[in-house]
Each structure stands twice: as structure tokens, then as C-alpha cells.
Symmetry: C2
Subunit: 158 residues, 2 copies
């Protein structure tokens, strides 16, 4: 089945992609995703290193909560480890059910607080490894592009 | 424990990093790894799209086999899904046992043949998702840098 052109995909993430190589890699996947979906990126301020980790996390998470709309998919190691097919199926099942907006969340350096896990409609894990959250943004964009090619029956552009 | 300065880490991979952003991201992690290890990258020719997938894979894998030295760690979805700690422990246990050379293998677009799985001393999985092999090179480099900071008790440089 094809996903209707109006599907909205939001990235709700922490901080900027400071390095040019992450920016360029993300832009490439964003460009590819935009063939199939309306992509928006919401960058929540990265909390300063002053104060406790819990305080930083809770500030960042308040910012994240504020940006969440539609069906919320949190990427977090505590979720179910999924494969490409399951990741793509999630998008197509939502489309079938008339849900046309998905917000994907990536926490900051210290992850997310319980408030985000509770708000999330689904928590998915990409494996047991820890990745830098900026690299995770690239990995997620690549998987979404891959999912959209699977759903639309198109070849994956290498 | 600290890893002795002479540890050799080889990447045995397929094809070039054509995109500048992958090259720059890899160079950054390679630079960081080189504080702790002697890093070498062996790029095996990517087999042309002519011929069957099995034929391509077997050509690429012959090239890979030819470059393997030391303890061979294959990254492949069929392996055990590991976490950061286990990934780092593997390196430090090898060092304790006097093994000072590790070859990490990433297959090409179609993965690797049984010959590589048989030759590998260990097969590790980073999750159930499929990643482009070029992105996988960045992910692996980041994890090795992370492992070396864990082993050496140093802070992870974001």
C-alpha cells in the first residue's frame, strides 16, 4: 500500500547538529524523505551541564513534551528491539488507521524521563548499544527513508 | 585496565565511502581511535551489479577473507545482540589474553557468505535493523571509540 502524500513526520530532538558531516548526512535523508512525507524537525534546547543530570533531563523533556503532536514514537533502548519490516509496518498501519502525523523522539545525552515514556504511544529500540544522540538522528532518518521505500514498493537508493 | 598502545584494529570493509559526509564522520572517529590503537582500513572492491547476488557476495567475500588477520569480529544481524559494555569487554579480554590485533568485518550490500561467518572468531549484532554498509562503518567506528574510552576509563568526548 502507498502512504498518502500528506503524512507528516516530525523529529523531536535535543540540540543542534553541530558538525557539518552530521548536518549534511541528515539533509540528504531529509531530502529523500520529503518525496514521501512532510518532514519537520523540532530542536529542543540542550540543557546546560550545570545542575544535576536529572535536572537537565527534566528540562529537556519538558521542552520535548511541549512539541509532541500526533502518534508519538520514542526511540529508546528500553523499548522492543525491532527490525526494518516492523518499523515500516508501524508507519503503514498508522496510515491505514487514518493517523497522518507521527512524532519521533530522540532524547538527549542522558536519555528521557518517565514523562516521555508515558506520553509515547510506542517505544522502539534500535538495539542495546548506546549511540550519540546526533548520530541517532542520522540512523533514524535513514530508517524512516528505508521504511518509506518499503511501504511504497520502491528500490532503496544507495 | 588500559589497553596497551600497540593494539591493532583493522576495518575490513567493502567499497569506498563515496559521500564526503561519511568520509568526514569516519575520519573524526578514526582520529579519536588513533589515540588508543593503530587503525587500518582495508577496502575490498565492491563487486559490480552484473551477475547474481550470490556471485557478487562470493567475490567480495574472497577479497575480505584475503585481508583477515588476528581475531576476527564480524558484525552481522545473525550474531548475538550486544550492548556497549559487552562490546568493550571483548576488546579488553582479548588484550588480557595477549591478542593485540582485531579485524572487524562489515559485509557489502548483500551481507557476507558462510565462509566469513565460519572464519569469524565472534559474530556480533548491533540490532535487528538493516543499515547501509557505509553508515555501518561510522556506527562501528563510534562504538570502537566508545569502547576504548570505557576500557581506558576516560570520558567520552561528545
Amino acid at each position: 500500500m502507498g502512504v498518502n502524500a500528506l503524512i507528516k513526520i516530525n523529529f523531536v530532538v535535543v540540540g543542534h547538529l553541530k558538525e557539518k558531516y552530521w548536518n549534511d548526512a541528515f539533509s540528504e535523508y531529509a531530502k529523500r524523505i520529503s518525496r514521501f512525507a512532510e518532514l519537520k524537525v523540532y530542536e529542543v534546547a540542550e540543557s546546560s551541564d550545570a545542575g544535576s543530570i536529572e535536572l537537565q533531563k527534566s528540562k529537556e523533556c519538558a521542552g520535548i513534551l511541549n512539541k509532541l503532536t500526533g502518534f508519538v514514537i520514542l526511540t529508546d533502548r528500553t523499548g522492543d528491539i525491532i527490525d526494518d519490516k516492523q518499523f515500516a509496518d508501524l508507519i503503514s498501519q498508522l496510515a491505514v488507521n487514518g493517523i497522518s502525523e507521527i512524532s519521533y523522539v530522540i532524547g538527549g545525552s542522558h536519555g528521557v524521563s518517565e514523562s516521555i515514556k508515558m506520553r509515547a504511544n510506542k517505544v522502539v529500540s534500535f538495539g542495546k548499544l548506546t549511540f550519540p544522540h546526533r548520530l541517532m538522528r542520522i540512523i533514524l532518518a535513514e530508517q524512516i527513508y528505508r521504511a518509506l521505500t518499503i511501504i511504497n514498493g520502491l528500490p532503496y537508493h544507495k
